[in-house]
């Protein structure tokens, strides 16, 4: 395989291709790294992310597993504890629930519970989110759930650049890192800056500067928020869009800085509102920058229903551009 599956002669590629190149380079860079999961080899990945890698690296490093999430995620944890640097793919985050015991009771606890004797340098990638009419059992957004758990790092690449480079940083991290790749983003195309060869996995990033309102978001809600910001600009309102990128640990500094400047805030989160990462962020803002706010904090989240199949119903269940625009608009004039 080469790296020319994007537009030849440019750095233009899809999010999927960026994920694929990230894995490919990780395998080239470190012989301790391997990819393990359901249909990652012969099938080429449920979302075609690992297509061609089996042919290039062989079955020892691209390991097709049986449908046994607890066993292969746990095996990834054990292998990491014993010196390897595994990348475990859980086909979608919906199936991560079958491995929740391993992730929460082992990966997240053992470093602390062993008094710092055993690190778990493991990366778990999984697809997340709705928007493809896959119905309730294939449309969950569980990144906010996992962000509840001490001992884990939770990454949500919302750009091609993050899809391409977050994995490298995650593998270099001594902790279990979960990467949530949004299913709708896989087909997104973008240009990679040839100067950029790595990204941090610590900071949120301002994707669009603005002075009137901060839109805090991540994942597939990032492009929606950027689109909303363009709409708002037509009305003379400059929205600052902050890509959270890392849901655990949250980058309070960037979030607080943005909101303190714009004094208004909309949080956009594909998770359900109750007990969500948006709730956590809203609470932190209320605790720490309450007196900087000129208006109440607003949230645009998924409706509290299992995501339905029918297109119009699914659309109504997930955060949409119009709702973000409306939420931000409602804050203008509030002083």
């Amino acid at each position: 395989m080469n790296e020319q599956t994007g537009t030849p002669g440019t750095n233009r590629m899809t999010y999927r291709e960026a994920c694929r190149q990230a894995i490919r380079h990780a395998l080239i860079d470190d012989s301790r790294t391997f990819l393990m999961g359901e249909d990652v080899g012969l099938y080429g990945g449920c979302y075609a992310v690992s297509k061609g890698l089996l042919q290039e690296f062989g079955p020892g490093r691209i390991r097709d597993t049986p449908l046994a999430e607890a066993a292969f995620v746990g095996a990834g944890i054990g292998a990491a504890m014993a010196g390897m640097r595994p990348i475990v793919e859980i086909m979608t985050c919906n199936f991560s629930l079958l491995a929740l015991d391993q992730i929460m009771n082992n990966a997240a606890t053992i470093p602390h519970m062993s008094g710092g004797q055993f690190a778990v340098p493991l990366v778990i990638r999984m697809a997340t989110g709705g928007g493809r009419q896959l119905a309730a059992q294939h449309s969950h957004s569980l990144e906010g759930w996992f962000a509840h758990i001490p001992g884990l790092k939770v990454l949500v690449p919302g750009t091609i650049e993050d899809a391409r480079f977050m994995l490298k940083a995650a593998l270099a991290d001594p902790n279990p890192v979960l990467i949530f790749e949004h299913i709708v983003l896989y087909n997104e195309e973008g240009e990679l800056d040839p100067e950029v060869e790595e990204v941090d996995i610590a900071k949120a990033r301002v994707r669009r500067p603005g002075s009137d309102v901060s839109i805090l978001t991540y994942g597939n809600s990032l492009p929606k928020s950027l689109e909303a910001a363009e709409e708002l600009a037509k009305e003379g309102m400059e929205a600052e869009v902050v890509d959270l990128r890392v849901l655990r640990p949250l980058d309070n500094a960037t979030i607080f800085d943005s909101v303190s400047r714009t004094r208004r805030c909309v949080i956009v989160d594909e998770g359900w509102k109750s007990g969500s990462i948006s709730a956590e962020i809203a609470a932190r803002l209320a605790e720490d920058v309450f007196f900087e706010l000129d208006a109440p904090i607003r949230r645009v989240c998924s409706r509290e229903v299992p995501v339905p199949y029918a297109a119009h119903m699914e659309e109504a269940a997930l955060p949409q551009v119009g709702q973000i625009v409306e939420a931000a608009r409602g804050l203008v004039g509030a002083r």
Binding site: P86, N106, P111, M113, S114, G115, Q117, A119
Partner: protein, 328 residues
């Protein structure tokens, strides 16, 4: 003992000493629990000592151990020093997990002791991964994974059995079948009560062995380890054993009779091993007295070590939630 393999004097005494260390250490633990020096859950291994002792005799430094929450015997037989184990139960920072884990979660990186796991079945997948690393790095090591028969009800057990055999991983599965999953009798929990047949269903080599006899366990484990080191993939040992004490310190034992316990106590591996050593003139009264004195002294030292230990600084509460580096 039913089968009498050739067993040297020194080795026979060693097996006895190892079991006695566990039994007496735990008797002290129970006492210290009553005295409220030890808190939380305390699961004692009384009656099952022959399993850990027999298995560990066959392991080498390069091998790894994944234990259960009933891990005192595993840890002592593996060679974890007694002082830090007792300190761990006291919750002292000198404990083998800085007092973070307690009785159920002994860890020792140096001795490749990957922790007592308190989720039934939760340790099996870890053993697979450790074995994958052994294979990849060609260490020649294997992962010995302990679990009770209750684990056979868990999906993680079945997933792990299949994957281990499918990938021919060097894992020694040790099922400590003590007939009760906490209070759930085996025959009420499993449609197939012959646990070793479950291994056969995954085409895994395995056998059932008398878990009340350290020599029988050791010989079976030698066969198992030899097969695993020869590259034949995993091996399953069902050790049929019994726990004399309650499941934990909070168990009225409504699910079994005193008579049943007494019947099993007749097979107690410790007096039986001693009787066998004596019958075969493999231990003198002086040697026996010396072993007992050594064990008592070791326990006394461990208690003193724990008593003299210190409490971890509360400022370190969040230390190691996230690690700064991976140890070499």
């Amino acid at each position: 003992m039913s089968d009498k393999p050739h067993l040297g004097r020194e080795h026979g005494q060693h097996l006895y000493r190892q079991m006695l260390r566990i039994r007496h250490f735990e008797a002290k633990c129970a006492e210290l629990y009553q005295a409220q020096k030890i808190r939380g859950f305390l699961h004692l291994y009384d009656g099952e000592e022959a399993v850990a002792v027999g298995i560990m005799e066959t392991l080498e430094d390069r091998d790894s151990v994944v234990a259960t929450y009933r891990d005192h015997g595993h840890a002592l037989a593996r060679g974890l020093p007694m002082g830090p184990l007792m300190a761990e139960m006291y919750g002292k920072v000198e404990g083998c997990a800085r007092g973070r884990g307690g009785s159920m979660h002994f860890f020792d990186r140096e001795r490749r002791f990957f922790g007592g796991n308190a989720i039934v079945g939760g340790g099996l997948p870890l053993a697979l991964g450790i074995a994958m690393a052994d294979k990849e790095f060609e260490t020649g090591g294997l992962a010995a994974c302990f679990f009770g028969e209750g684990a056979a009800g868990e999906g993680e057990f079945h997933e792990s059995m299949n994957l281990a055999q499918l990938w021919e991983l060097p894992v020694l599965f040790v099922c400590e079948n003590n007939l009760y999953a906490m209070g759930m009798p085996l025959e009420l929990a499993e449609a197939e009560t012959e646990i070793s047949r479950k291994a056969a269903a995954y085409r895994m080599a395995g056998e059932a062995v008398d878990g009340m006899n350290p020599v029988a366990v050791e010989s079976a484990a030698r066969r198992a380890v030899e097969a695993i080191r020869a590259g034949n993939g995993p091996y399953f040992l069902e050790c049929r054993t019994y726990r004399f004490r309650p499941h934990s310190m909070f168990d009225a034992q409504l699910y079994r009779t005193r008579d049943e316990i007494e019947v099993w106590k007749e097979r107690d591996p410790i007096p039986r091993t001693l009787a066998w050593l004596q019958e075969n003139a493999m231990i003198t009264p002086d040697e026996l007295a010396a072993i007992e004195a050594e064990v008592e002294a070791e326990i006394e030292d461990a208690v003193a070590f724990a008593e003299n230990g210190t409490w971890e600084d509360v400022a370190d509460l969040e230390k190691f939630v996230l690690m700064d580096e991976v140890q070499a």
